[in-house]
C-alpha cells in the first residue's frame, strides 16, 4: 500500500518543531508500524536526509520504549498493543497517518518523536519498592501463602510497561494509572503491605512534583493502555492514599 505520513520533526528541545509530510510506497500489510518507519528512514538516508528519531527496542511489546501518538491515539488504532506490535493491516492504501510524540509537560521532547520519560523513573525511586536487602538471607519463598486472587491482581497491576500511553491519552496528562499500578502491585501483597502507607504518600508526592495533572475519571488511559491496566488501580491508590493520610 501507499501512504502519506505527517510526522513531527524537531531537531532538539531548543528548536521549534513542525509537521513534515512524507510518502511511502509498497508497504506490506504484514509489516509492523515500526518496520514501516524503517522503510521511511532508509528512504531518507538514501536521499541524504536525516532519519526520523523514535524510541524503540524490544519490538515485542514488553520493554515500553516505543511511544508514538498515531492519528491522535497513543500506540495507534489497535487495542492491547504497543506501537511495535501494531501492524500495517490496520491501515488502508492511500491513508494519511499523523505521527506525533507523546505530549505532556512531564515528558519533555528530546528529538523528533523521542521524549524524556525519566519522570516515571523518579516516581518509582520515591518508593516503588519493598525495602528488603538483596543479600538472600530472606525467609523461604513459601513461608507466607498469598491468596491466588491477590497474587493475580498484583501481577496484572505489575504488567505495566511504563510506556507513558496513559499520560499521553489523558487530557490532564495525569500519571495516576501508572503510579497506581505500582502502588497496587505492592499493596496487594503481604510483602509490600508493610510499608504501603509511606510508599503511596511518597510516590504521589513525587508524581505531583513532576508536573503531571490530576485524574478526572475520563478513563481514556485504561482504553489506550497497551497492557489493559485497570482503572480499579486508581481507585485503590486513592483509598490507600486516604488511609495513609489520616493515620
Amino acid at each position: 500500500m501507499n501512504l502519506t505520513l505527517k510526522i513531527w520533526r524537531q531537531k532538539n528541545a531548543d528548536t521549534k518543531g513542525k509537521v513534515v509530510t512524507y510518502q511511502v510506497s509498497d508497504i506490506s500489510e504484514d509489516m509492523s508500524f515500526l518496520e514501516m518507519m524503517d522503510v521511511l528512514n532508509e528512504q531518507l538516508i538514501d536521499k541524504g536526509d536525516e532519519p526520523v528519531a523514535f524510541d524503540h527496542d524490544c519490538r515485542e511489546g514488553i520493554c515500553g520504549s516505543c511511544s508514538l501518538q498515531i492519528n491522535g491515539e497513543p500506540h495507534g488504532p489497535d487495542r492491547g498493543v504497543a506501537t511495535c506490535q501494531l501492524h500495517m493491516r490496520k491501515f488502508k492504501d492511500g491513508d494519511t497517518i499523523t505521527i506525533e510524540p507523546f505530549r505532556a509537560k512531564a515528558f519533555p521532547l528530546i528529538k523528533d518523536l523521542v521524549v524524556d520519560r525519566s519522570s516515571f523513573d523518579r516516581i518509582q525511586q520515591a518508593g516503588g519498592y519493598v525495602s528488603v536487602n538483596t543479600s538472600g538471607n530472606t525467609i523461604d519463598a513459601n513461608s507466607i501463602p498469598v491468596d491466588k486472587e491477590s497474587a493475580d491482581m498484583s501481577f496484572y497491576a505489575a504488567t505495566c510497561i511504563g510506556c507513558g500511553a496513559c499520560v499521553a491519552a489523558c487530557k490532564n496528562a495525569s500519571a495516576m494509572l501508572f503510579t497506581s499500578a505500582k502502588v497496587s502491585q505492592f499493596a496487594l501483597l503481604p510483602q509490600g503491605e508493610v510499608e504501603a502507607d509511606r510508599r503511596v504518600l511518597q510516590m504521589v508526592e513525587q508524581m505531583d512534583k513532576e508536573g503531571f495533572g490530576n485524574c478526572t475519571n475520563t478513563g481514556a488511559c485504561e482504553i489506550e493502555c497497551p497492557k489493559g491496566i485497570s482503572l480499579e488501580n486508581i481507585a485503590r491508590m486513592n483509598r490507600e492514599y486516604l488511609k495513609a493520610s489520616v493515620k
Binding site: I45, E50, S131, P145, A151, F155
Partner: protein, 667 residues
C-alpha cells in the same frame, strides 16, 4: 597466579562455594564507601549486581543505552526461572539441577560454576518473593511450577508469560531503592564505548551520552560488564533492536579473552519470518511446549497443498500428521532441549514438509491440550455429559489463563487465531552461551574487569536449558559477584578515587572520538542496515543451525570483505554531537563485523558437534550430534591480537569429577 586460571576452589564440589566465601578477603563497610564500581548494562545481571553492590556500601554507577534501566532486554524473557526448590516433591535437588544443566550444555560448561548456580537458585526465589515479585500461585497460596525442556521435573517458577519482566522490575525496584539513597547513580541513554586500563587494571570507561553526543570519562576501581549476548550478529534474532556486543567486544580488544563464540542458541519456537522487511523475530515461550504438540504433515502432498493455501491444517486427521519429536524422542517428546528441537524442525522443513509459504515453519498445536483441559474442567465442575463444544470452550479458558498473552501476541503478529488453528513456528537465534571468558570469581583476563549474565560464557556450555538464563543472571548479580568482587577490591582500600585526567583516559577518549568521526565523515553510499542484513544472511546460512568446513571458510572470507566494504561505503547521516541513532547502530555493526569472523573461526576449529554447535561432518547416521570429548572437551578462549583472523586460542580443559560424561540422549 596467571590471568588465565579458572581459580576453582579445591575441595568437594558441594563445599567449594562455602569454603571459597570463607576464604576470600572482604572489604569493611567503612572502606566500601571509598570504592567505586561501574556496572555496564542493567538487565537481570547488571541490575541485581548494581543494587547489591550499592547496598553493601560501594559507590555504583550504572550505564544503559535505554532510557530507563527497566527496559533492558531481560524484560522480554517469557517462560520462567528454574530453582531447585523441590516444592513439587518430584525428586528435584541441587544435584539434579546441576546435572541437568551440565548434561543440557552437552558437557562443555565448568562444573564448579554450574554447581554454585544450582546451590544459590533457591535463594533467588526467596529473594524475589520478598521483593514483591508476583509469581504465579496455586489456590492454596503457594508458588506454582511448570516444566521446561530437557528435564524430568517441574522446577520452573513463572509469572504467566512475563517472568523476565517481573524479575527485572524486581531488580529495577532494588536499584531504585539505592538510587533514592544516593548509592547508585544511573546513567541512562549512555553507551560504553571503551574500557580504560591503568597499570593493566580496569579503571574506568569512556561513555557516550546518547542525547547530547558528548563523550564522558568515568573512573572506578572495578568495571562490571553485564551487557548481554551477541545474537544480533545474525541481524534477525529475538534480541532487542539495540542489543549489541560492543561492551564485550571492547574489553576483548583490550585483553579479555572471548570464549566459545560459536555456542549460540537457536530457539525452536519463534514466529516464522514473513518477508524481507522483517526487523526482528518474536519468541513464543518454550513453556508452550508443555502443552503444545509439534507436527508437520506426514505426506509431502499435504505439505504442498497447505503451502499453496489449498488445504487447512485442521483438515488433516491424526494419522496424516507426523509428530516428529514424539516419534524420534519418545522419552522427552515435545520437551527435548532447544538445540535438538530446532534441528529436528530444520530437518523436516529441508526435507520439504514445511507449512508456510516460505516452507520454513512447523505447527505447534494446542487442540489436544484444549480438549484434555476441557475434560478436566468439566469433571471438576461436575458437568455431566458435556458436548465437545462445551469441552472445547472450557479447555480454551484454561489455555487462555496459562498462555493468554502469548496467544494474543501471536494473533496480533500473524493475524490468525491460535485457539482455532495451530500456530506456525520456526527456529530463530535467541541466546548466546559463548561470551567473555571469566574465572570462578567472574573476573575476565583483565584484572578488575568482570563479566556477568549472558555476557559471560560460564554456565551453559554448548546449549542452555530453558528458564536458566534468568537464574544465571540473578545468581551472578545478587549472590556471586558481590562476594567475589570484594576479594579483588580489598587491595584497593587505600587507592583513593581514580583520576580521569590521566594519559590513559586521554588516549582512550581520543580513540573513541576518532572512530565516531570517521563514521560520520565517511559519506559512503550504503546504510548501516544494508551491511547488517548481509552479515546476518552470511551468519544464518553458513554459521547457523548446521555448519560445515567449506561454508565456514567462505563465511570467514565474506565477513572480512564485508567489513572492509563497510568502512569504505557506510553512510551515517548527521553528526557526532547530537542524538544520532544511525551512528549508534554503525558502531555496533562495526563490532559485529569483527565478532562474526571470530565466531566463524571458532566454529571451524571445533571439529565436533555439541549442543547448539552442529557440524554436518560430525553426526551419526540418525542425524544426532557427535561429540568428540577426546579432542574438544575444553573451553576455547580467544585472545585478540589485532585482527579476528589472528586471534590466539587458549584452552581451558574441562574436568568432570562429579558427573559421568555420557552421550546426551533424550530418546
Amino acid at each position: 597466579m596467571g590471568i588465565f586460571e579458572s581459580n576453582t576452589p579445591k575441595g568437594p564440589l558441594a563445599e567449594k562455594w562455602t569454603n571459597h566465601k570463607n576464604a576470600i578477603d572482604l572489604v569493611n563497610p567503612a572502606n566500601k564507601r571509598n570504592i567505586d564500581v561501574i556496572v555496564v548494562g542493567t538487565g537481570l545481571a547488571g541490575g541485581s549486581a548494581a543494587a547489591t553492590l550499592a547496598e553493601l556500601g560501594y559507590n555504583v554507577k550504572t550505564f544503559c543505552y535505554q532510557d530507563s534501566p527497566r527496559r533492558a532486554h531481560s524484560i522480554a524473557a517469557q517462560g520462567g526461572i528454574n530453582a531447585a526448590k523441590n516444592y513439587q516433591g518430584d525428586g528435584d535437588s541441587i544435584y539434579r539441577l546441576f546435572y541437568d544443566t551440565v548434561k543440557g550444555g552437552d558437557y562443555r560448561s565448568r562444573e564448579s560454576n554450574v554447581y554454585r548456580l544450582a546451590q544459590v537458585s533457591g535463594n533467588i526465589i526467596d529473594q524475589c518473593v520478598a521483593q514483591g515479585v508476583p509469581f504465579a500461585r496455586e489456590y492454596g497460596g503457594l508458588l506454582d511450577n511448570r516444566s521446561f525442556g530437557g528435564v524430568l521435573v517441574s522446577r520452573t517458577f513463572y509469572a504467566k508469560g512475563q517472568t523476565g519482566q517481573q524479575l527485572l522490575l524486581g531488580a529495577y525496584s532494588a536499584m531504585n531503592r539505592q538510587i533514592n539513597r544516593g548509592k547508585i547513580k544511573a546513567y541512562n541513554r549512555h553507551e560504553m564505548l571503551d574500557i580504560v586500563k591503568v597499570d593493566g587494571k580496569a579503571r574506568g570507561i569512556i561513555a557516550r551520552n546518547l542525547v547530547t553526543g558528548e563523550l564522558e570519562r568515568h573512573s572506578a576501581h572495578a568495571v562490571v560488564v553485564a551487557s548481554g549476548g551477541y545474537g544480533n550478529v545474525f541481524f534477525l534474532s529475538t534480541n532487542a533492536m539495540g542489543s549489541n556486543v560492543t561492551a564485550s567486544w571492547k574489553i576483548h580488544k583490550k585483553g579479555a579473552y572471548f570464549a566459545n563464540p560459536c555456542f549460540t542458541q537457536i530457539h525452536p519456537t519463534c514466529i516464522p519470518v514473513s518477508g524481507d522487511h522483517q526487523s526482528k523475530l518474536t519468541l513464543m515461550s518454550e513453556s508452550l511446549r508443555n502443552d503444545g504438540r509439534i507436527w508437520v504433515p506426514k505426506k509431502k502432498e499435504d505439505a504442498e497443498a497447505i503451502r499453496a493455501g489449498k488445504k487447512k491444517p485442521t483438515e488433516l486427521s491424526e494419522e496424516e500428521r507426523d509428530y516428529y519429536l514424539e516419534r524420534r524422542y519418545p522419552a522427552f517428546g515435545n520437551l527435548v532441549p532447544r538445540d535438538v528441537a530446532s534441528r529436528a524442525a530444520k530437518e523436516r522443513c529441508d526435507a520439504g514438509f514445511g507449512v508456510n509459504k516460505t516452507g520454513e515453519a512447523v505447527y505447534l498445536d494446542f487442540s489436544s491440550a484444549i480438549m484434555r483441559y476441557g475434560k478436566e474442567a468439566a469433571t471438576t465442575q461436575k458437568i455431566d455429559n458435556p458436548s465437545d463444544a462445551r469441552i472445547k470452550q472450557l479447555g480454551k479458558q484454561v489455555v487462555e489463563a496459562k498462555y493468554g498473552n502469548l496467544f494474543q501476541m501471536y494473533e496480533k503478529i500473524v493475524d490468525q487465531n491460535p485457539y482455532e488453528t495451530p500456530m506456525m513456528i520456526y527456529p530463530a537465534v535467541h541466546y548466546t552461551m559463548g561470551g567473555v571468558w571469566v574465572d570462578y570469581n567472574l573476573q575476565t583476563t583483565i584484572p578488575g574487569c568482570y563479566a556477568i549474565g549472558e555476557a559471560n560464557f560460564s554456565d551453559h556450555g554448548a546449549n542452555r536449558l530453558g528458564a536458566s538464563a534468568l537464574m544465571q543472571g540473578l545468581a551472578d548479580g545478587y549472590f556471586v559477584l558481590p562476594y567475589t568482587i570484594g576479594d579483588y577490591l580489598s587491595n584497593d582500600i587505600r587507592t583513593g578515587a581514580i583520576p580521569t585526567d590521566s594519559a590513559e583516559f586521554d588516549a582512550a577518549e581520543t580513540e573513541v572520538r576518532e572512530r565516531l568521526e570517521k563514521l560520520v565523515n565517511n559519506k559512503g553510499t550504503k546504510s548501516v542496515d544494508h551491511f547488517h542484513k548481509i552479515l546476518g544472511k552470511i551468519m544464518w546460512n553458513k554459521v547457523g543451525m548446521a555448519r560445515n568446513a567449506t561454508g565456514l571458510k567462505e563465511a570467514i572470507t565474506e565477513i572480512k570483505e564485508l567489513r572492509e566494504e563497510f568502512w569504505k561505503e557506510v553512510k551515517v547521516p548527521g553528526n557526532t554531537m547530537e542524538m544520532n541513532a544511525e551512528l549508534e547502530k554503525a558502531g555496533r555493526v562495526a563490532d559485529f563485523l569483527e565478532l562474526g569472523e571470530l565466531f566463524a573461526k571458532d566454529a571451524l576449529h571445533r571439529e565436533e558437534s555439541c549442543g547448539g554447535h552442529f557440524r554436518e561432518e560430525y553426526q551419526t547416521e540418525e542425524g544426532e550430534a557427535m561429540r568428540d570429548d577426546e579432542n574438544f572437551m575444553y573451553v576455547a578462549a580467544w585472545e585478540y591480537t589485532g585482527n579476528p583472523a589472528d586471534a590466539i586460542l587458549h584452552k581451558e580443559d574441562l574436568d568432570y569429577e562429579n558427573i559421568q560424561v555420557k552421550t546426551r540422549s533424550y530418546k
